[in-house]
Assembly symmetry: C2
Homo-oligomer: 337 residues x 2
């Protein structure tokens, strides 16, 4: 149905349009790529491609531009992920290696990705629900309140204030802390719910109200409200690709944690780069953007996601290469700490 030449034409259209941001016509096409046919032939091919919905004309007497469907075909069959050069890889490695804590790793990753791709970068913190607890700390505050600090094996630190219902002293806190650490240390956060159910039996009866308050805060931290933490960077790159009107919508969408989570998607295979083009991410206001994302993690399973957001008119091979590389190196760095 689409012979090789037609595919080559589509590929050429995508490449040219991405690099020039102008509708590409039949003449320009034969000139720039060495197709050994005449413009007229190309026109026939383009007519077919348009009929099938891979390209469109913005207006009569203009060249063609790819549709979402066209980009999709391009990404799936007509392009290969462009690997990073050795120099780039070294730069990535040294830049990330300088990080000194989790916040810093995430911040550097976001910057790096934004700079490499010249797009907006989005990085999710290592998912709480997939981490294990490494340490639990209780710090007394004033007025019957405690600060609960959870430290995970990915270096993430979560803090919450707990209102204690009953009175307590240093000893009771020490005891509680010991119980918590004994029971929770090394546990996956998803397993904690089950463990916590058994905990009350391990503390003295008179401590139970306080203990219960702490437990419920732990559960609350893990599940409901505290979804996931996400960082965005390189927003200024949006001004290059002229969304003109849509810019506001895009910026608004990027400020919504929830939207970002949806955007990064769900795939569970580590280091697989996924691409969502235009309307494929059904987020209002991001219909004209594409997302290139990948999971990253320290072991076999992905801990979280990262990716870039840009106009559908995006250099997919390069973006995919950058996302893949950054995901790998960030995963490595996390594994080392």
């Amino acid at each position: 149905m689409l012979d090789d030449r037609k595919l080559a034409v589509l590929r050429a259209i995508v490449e040219d349009y991405v690099s020039t941001n102008e509708p590409v016509g039949s003449r320009a096409l034969v000139d720039r790529h060495n197709l050994d046919v005449s413009p007229a032939t190309i026109r026939n091919d383009m007519a077919v491609l348009e009929e099938q919905g891979y390209i469109v004309q913005p207006h009569t007497s203009a060249g063609r531009i790819p549709t979402d469907k066209g980009y999709r075909l391009f990404v799936d069959r007509l392009s290969a992920v462009k690997p990073m050069s050795a120099a780039e890889r070294r730069a990535i490695e040294t830049f990330l290696a300088g990080a000194y804590d989790l916040d810093d790793v995430v911040m550097r990753t976001v910057r790096l990705l934004a700079q490499l791709t010249r797009q907006v970068a989005v990085v999710q913190y290592p998912s709480l629900s997939k981490s294990a607890i490494r340490h639990v700390e209780l710090v007394p505050l004033t007025d019957g309140r405690l600060l609960l600090v959870l430290i995970t094996d990915t270096g993430r630190v979560e803090q919450r204030v707990v209102d204690m219902p009953a009175s307590y002293d240093d000893d009771s806190i020490t005891q509680l802390r010991a119980v918590l650490n004994a029971c929770l240390d090394g546990r996956k956060l998803t397993d904690v719910a089950a463990v916590v159910a058994d905990l009350p039996e391990r503390v003295e009866p008179r401590e139970r109200p306080n203990a219960a308050a702490v437990f419920s805060v732990i559960l609350e931290t893990l599940v409901a409200r505290h979804e996931e933490k996400i960082v965005v960077g390189g927003a200024s790159n949006l001004t290059a690709a002229d969304f003109s009107q849509g810019l506001r919508e895009v910026l608004e969408a990027l400020e919504e944690q929830v939207v970002l989570m949806r955007l990064l998607g769900e795939s569970d295979e580590i280091s697989a780069v996924t691409v969502r083009i235009g309307a494929e991410n059904d987020v209002r206001g991001l219909r004209s953007t594409s997302v290139v994302a990948a999971g990253y993690g320290s072991g076999d399973r992905p801990l979280a996601k990262l990716g870039v957001v840009g106009p559908t008119r995006m250099d997919y091979p390069t973006a995919m290469g950058a996302v893949r590389a950054v995901a790998r190196y960030t995963g490595q760095i996390l594994a080392e700490s």
Copy 2:
């Protein structure tokens, strides 16, 4: 030199220009404000104001718009901070009261400020150097590494990885932890440097290398690299005020922590709202923006800054009111935890 009517004219020009975003002419001025003189008279006044540099004409045969100098005069002498309505104050209070930890307070504050002013909001985390230590925790990681966790009285939690030069066991860590907490608890972070100098004497000789490593990381955390943490929100509001070309520059500037710090400025009086107009903040790329900022804090001295960034053509009285109110309530909330 500038009589009352001329000042009134300037005020009217600023107000009209802010609300309409169009150069304001002499006729429109007498129509909308009830000045009891003719347009011709106003024209004479405007000629004087222009000569003095308070207003300019974008082009001949257009109305006048205020200059930075004009806005400055307006802010200093022609306007009053517009207080929030009771309803707004209640809304602010309840919105902030729902926060459950420091991160959440800061995030909510940023959102609130962006929403109230319809500008970009900037909030700095409570300054480390002005906080006191409430607790120090050491958590063993793998391979001779420790996670150092500092908890401050403002609820801020800082974490750093420490490479331990010598071997250690649980006991030595417990001892070190005790020493640290005994010596640092309640100390201002600015005083820590002095205290740390004495610490080595308090640990056993064979523990000193490890202790020294921890101490140096503490110092490092407080001073050099870890300046201050800043959160930005409401960037999409920038699209409303048409910077057109400058938008990219503004977005870039807002991604630079260092620039933001400079922007929020240095004033030490709490709850004083400061305004920097246009070129007054000598940051490249933000020459056409204004910053309205205030300190906020739990006690008498400000812990940190917050504010809004917008076009010089900004509703200063309202922005100042919102910034002042939010600074107060955020301070209160922090004081309670």
